[in-house]
Symmetry: C2
């Protein structure tokens, strides 16, 4: 907050006494209520993602003792889902909540901060962002738009999806009509499939009527809520295309910088709290939903054959290399991401992977 | 904070004007500086663990705009490492940072909140704590001591350790003198080994001189700093005994409850931020140190044979069942932990494990 704002705010409280102006402005900081809007790409209260945005707003309001009140708007309430980035950029809303791959039209580099085929798991992604230089590059990527990004949630490894056709070899992907957006869709196309982009609300009926052969969505918790088990024969794993999808908070840079230092810290750290809380919630709810899907609904779980996964990984490398060539910033982000992924693999192989195998 | 404290604090600021007492006390909340001490079980600034405690104190001070200042004391500076629990319980310090297994003498249940052989990974542990009922049980466990616990850091999967003897079968554990504390030590004993408890500072020389045959410590980052690669022939994985060691913050209940609601929220949420930050730091630093150990120091990485891991897991089940029988509270915690572990396994197997295997 600029000095003249302090004085104005202090005056408006009617509490200026004989104490120095410094004390008075310090008080003003703590008594003036600031109101922020948070626009989101999710339907209001959407389980996991939308409720994560709600938690973020609640935490900021709570930790600031109500000095900074954040009100959440679902998609279309203030702006449509895909205008969240612009709304935060121009200051229509001070905050947004979504996923960075939605903004690939603004900058191709954004995709590396959300979900990358054969990329990083949630734990590795947070390692890269907070201690491997990733967050710094994300800031740099959004700098031209006047936006400060923060990781604010993670779904963990997603499922490969729901299929009405068994996948026994790479040949079975040929002609497959599957709802799969983004980089994963591009990879499927190169494997001979037909990626289709459908909003969440149309997935069930398209799958049920045979308009599509397969769909990915998130994981057991969100998929079961959509009833996808009633529209498909097989539930495939693992989700090679989104191994640790990161959700993001977008913060208008000027609005953030005008806050006193303590509120700035509260906003940034509340994002970290939600980042941890969401993956913890997904870990628990996915496990519970999976139990219901398998034991109650008798869903058939199948693993994609190694041959198919290997081929999808080669195609993913091709796609990522092409995306990286878009511009200088995207190349810089890709190289940092790739270097981290290649190096963390040895560690993850002898820690998480070796342990989970032994248990 | 109790009402009479508000009034006293408000009066001491000399800022009470003609506004209502409610406003004045609200101001007092934000202007009075509260000073807290945080005692820790770590040497001051110990990489990862001690620096995590430092970060926690810094975050609370920063998010509170200096209204709550937390000063960190290393082990022995104010109280010895193993008196941290008592110091927080009686209010000598308002906060502590350590690991719950240190307090098994107070309550056997505490061990389930730190590290359990063949237990939960960091991600699963956070799932259990925040969304699976674990944290509620942890509160209940520490309630008689007037302490509020919080997860405040995680090392991730630890390494099985440094060995001067190759482990080819369960027979090779017979007579093995190994520095391994806690539940892991008890399991080793049942496999015929001799668990030894040594403070960190004596490990290197004991291993070098042959006083012990093997030792576990943490992982590549901390182990390399201790120079353990200069004292042993083999570096074994995975760390079956500590698959996701949780660090804890201890908070004196009365001190917490006397804070205004916003500062209470800041203290609790700062612990979550550090919980996420520490595992992110370990993921990155372990990966970097492992690269140096393998490529520069030519350390020989070996996997414990499946037969050995299977046997250690059966013995672990025996040990955990015996610990659970200690008292009612421990049994209650064990049953919640075990139920979560058994159910999360299916989900982790088709998500993290299947994905890491495919990559």
């Amino acid at each position: 907050m600029k000095r003249r704002h302090f004085i104005k705010a202090a005056a408006s409280t009617g509490l200026i006494t004989s104490t120095s102006l410094t004390s008075a402005t310090a008080l003003a900081k703590s008594t003036a209520t600031i109101k922020w809007k948070m626009v989101t790409t999710w339907p209001k209260n959407f389980p996991g993602l939308g409720t994560g945005a709600n938690n973020l707003a609640k935490l900021i309001t709570q930790m600031s003792g109500g000095r900074l009140k954040v009100k959440v708007y679902g998609a279309k309430e203030l702006v449509p889902a895909f205008e969240v980035f612009d709304a935060v950029s121009r200051g229509t809303a001070q905050m947004g909540h979504g996923a960075a791959y939605y903004w690939k039209g603004k900058t191709a580099a954004a995709q590396f901060f959300a979900a990358v085929p054969f990329g990083l798991t949630a734990q590795e992604m947070n390692g890269w962002l907070y201690h491997g230089g990733g967050l710094k590059l994300w800031h740099e990527t959004y700098e031209p738009f006047g936006i400060i990004p923060a990781a604010a949630g993670n779904t963990g490894v997603q499922m490969a999806g729901w299929f009405n056709k068994e996948i026994k070899s790479i040949e079975d992907l040929k002609g497959l009509k599957m709802r799969i957006p983004g980089l994963g869709g591009e990879v499927l196309k190169r494997a001979g499939g037909t990626p289709v982009n459908l909003p969440g609300g149309e997935i069930f009926s398209s799958l049920k009527t045979g308009a599509i052969d397969a769909t990915e969505w998130v994981g057991p918790y969100n998929d079961m809520a959509f009833g996808l088990h009633k529209a498909a024969k097989f539930y495939y794993y693992p989700g090679w295309h989104e191994p640790g999808t990161t959700l993001e908070a977008l913060i208008n840079k000027q609005a953030l910088e005008e806050l006193p230092a303590d509120l700035q810290s509260i906003v940034i750290n509340a994002c970290k709290v939600v980042n941890l809380d969401m993956i913890s919630e997904y870990t628990t709810r996915n496990q519970q939903a999976l139990d219901t899907l398998v034991n109650k609904h008798k869903v058939k779980l199948l693993k994609l054959p190694d041959e198919v996964l290997d081929r999808l990984q080669s195609l993913s490398d091709e796609v990522l290399n092409e995306v990286a060539a878009t511009d200088k910033m995207t190349k810089k982000v890709f190289e940092s991401f790739k270097s981290y992924r290649d190096k963390v693999k040895l560690w993850s192989d002898i820690s998480e992977l070796a342990y989970l195998t032994s248990r």
